[in-house]
Amino acid sequence: MVETKGPAGPPHGPEPSLWPLGFAIGLTVTLVGLVIGSWSAAAVGAVVMVACGFVWMRDAMTGGDSTADAAAQTPGAVAVADDAEEDPELYRRGTFLGLATLGLGGVITGMVALPVAGFAVLPAFVDQGHDEVDIGPIEDYPEGDFVVATFLSNPEQGEVSRRTAYVRNNGLKDGLPSFTILSNRCVHLGCPVQVNGLSLEDQKQQVKIEGGPPVELTPTKAASGFGCPCHGGQYDTEGNRKAGPPVRALDRYRFLIRDGHLVLTEPYSVGEVDGTGSEAVIHAYDWVNPSVHVDGVEAILYPLEPPH
């Protein structure tokens, strides 16, 4: 079964051996130990280096016959050696160097490309959050009508962060103030929806906010809902979709009242609203992008939302 092919073994050179590797490791440990000032590590490295170096030299001088002979006595090992002989290309130096170049090149490329790609993508997804925005004293919001409030959601970024909310004071509910605060961003594709009703531009006022930019308030009269100029989406006064392409009700803002001031905390999305005013039952969801379904069968198409 085992055929003999010419002279057994290579004609020159020592057998492959792992001792040089041990020698290299010992040398490395010794040098690292010297650099970091750890005498014990240097000593251990030196011992390993000397021991491996000794055996390496001995094998090299005697030809390392002992292990080769032992292998020759077991038939299985001979068969393996025979396989290697059949395919002399398998472990050639050129192949090894080629693979090593590819591997090292891949590692170096990865070390450069991964952080760069991460920097391109990750800042858009981490540390996202919403500042609280003070939009003025609640007396500036008369009961029953929407007021258009425009404010900077992030004053550090300046005008680019200007946002608009439609704020309606619903009066007291169980002794607590109730507000309906709608985002003006259409949930179809994000255009600014407009009030279907009178916008009292002449009563526009700037409300000074302590420690922040002023808020602009424009009262409205007899709003029957909201309409989007871009693609014709229509909403009622609770933000429910009445017509057009939007896929849910208008987004809203969570709020709190601090020192008599209305403070917006964060936006959230709404499937639909049952009832009106302070009696409304809001089907609320975490904020999602415009055009994303939050309820119904289509919602399974949007299982994940990036962190906002």
Partner: protein
């Protein structure tokens, strides 16, 4: 004999002059092979009945080069900052000498580029020029169309006026409406949960570095394939295309995995 002398003299002069011109080219060719390369690329045989329809690709390339040239100059004056972008565009258009012209070329040239791409694509489709062996070049062309539209999309935000801003809001949210990954693509394009200070700079970088780089690479590949495969004859042509066919192989087509040369 006396009458023949002057022309010969003139001929010698002429040869000397030609040699003077050709010598540096020889020097270049010997060291780089570039003259042969340019000849291979430019001095190709084309079908006898190729027509004006075949110039649409070159026209598209010209439009792209105009965009690249004017874009580089506009970048010297434009400021991709939310507080300054709009003013810098006004400055380019109204104050700077010839700014109106270069911005106008870039603005209208963008539409010309896109329109010519579609005309060129229609020509290739109607002539059947996408068929074997040019299928790969059709695919590269499709990638060029998408990349070119992306270039237009990212450039549209840069004037930073109301149209630009809301068109981009809508465009990003159209991306968000794609199932599963859409919201993530939108957030990447915005550079955050909302359009903010970083969005404009991000789109500026996409518009003038990343996407044009991709366009240049794809155009290079497109042109290489055109030069390698040659121009196809029109479908009504009665003469063969202007390049020699490789000799018929008796055992059918050969390749790395199929057939064997006998």
């Amino acid at each position: 004999m006396a009458t023949a002398a002057p022309p010969r003299k003139r001929k010698g002069k002429q040869q000397q002059l030609v040699g003077l011109l050709l010598y540096p080219l020889d020097w270049l060719e010997e060291r780089s092979g570039i003259v042969g390369g340019v000849k291979w690329f430019l001095f190709r045989k084309v079908p006898r009945d190729s027509s004006w329809w075949h110039t649409l690709g070159s026209a598209t390339l010209t439009a792209f080069l105009v965009q690249a040239g004017t874009g580089v100059i506009l970048a010297m004056y434009y400021k991709p900052d939310p507080d300054k972008a709009y003013e810098s565009i006004q400055h380019i258009t109204s104050d700077l000498t010839l700014g109106w012209l270069v911005r106008g070329m870039h603005r209208w040239g963008a539409s010309v580029f896109i329109i010519l791409m579609f005309f060129h694509m229609a020509r290739v489709f109607l002539f059947g020029a996408y068929k074997y062996p040019r299928e790969l070049n059709w695919l590269v062309g499709a990638a060029l169309l998408i990349t070119g539209m992306l270039e237009g999309f990212t450039g549209y935000l840069l004037p930073w006026d109301q149209t630009a801003y809301w068109a981009t809001v809508v465009g990003i949210n159209i991306n968000a409406s794609a199932p599963f990954l859409g919201p993530f693509i939108a957030q990447f394009l915005r550079g955050g949960a909302e359009i903010g200070a970083d969005t404009l700079a991000r789109w500026y970088a996409l518009h003038m570095l990343l996407v044009p780089g991709a366009l240049f690479g794809l155009i290079g590949l497109h042109l290489y394939l055109v030069a390698r495969l040659g121009v196809s004859s029109p479908p009504w042509s009665r003469v063969a295309a202007g390049r020699e066919r490789p000799p018929e192989e008796p055992n059918g087509r050969t390749g790395l995995t199929r057939g064997k040369r006998v």
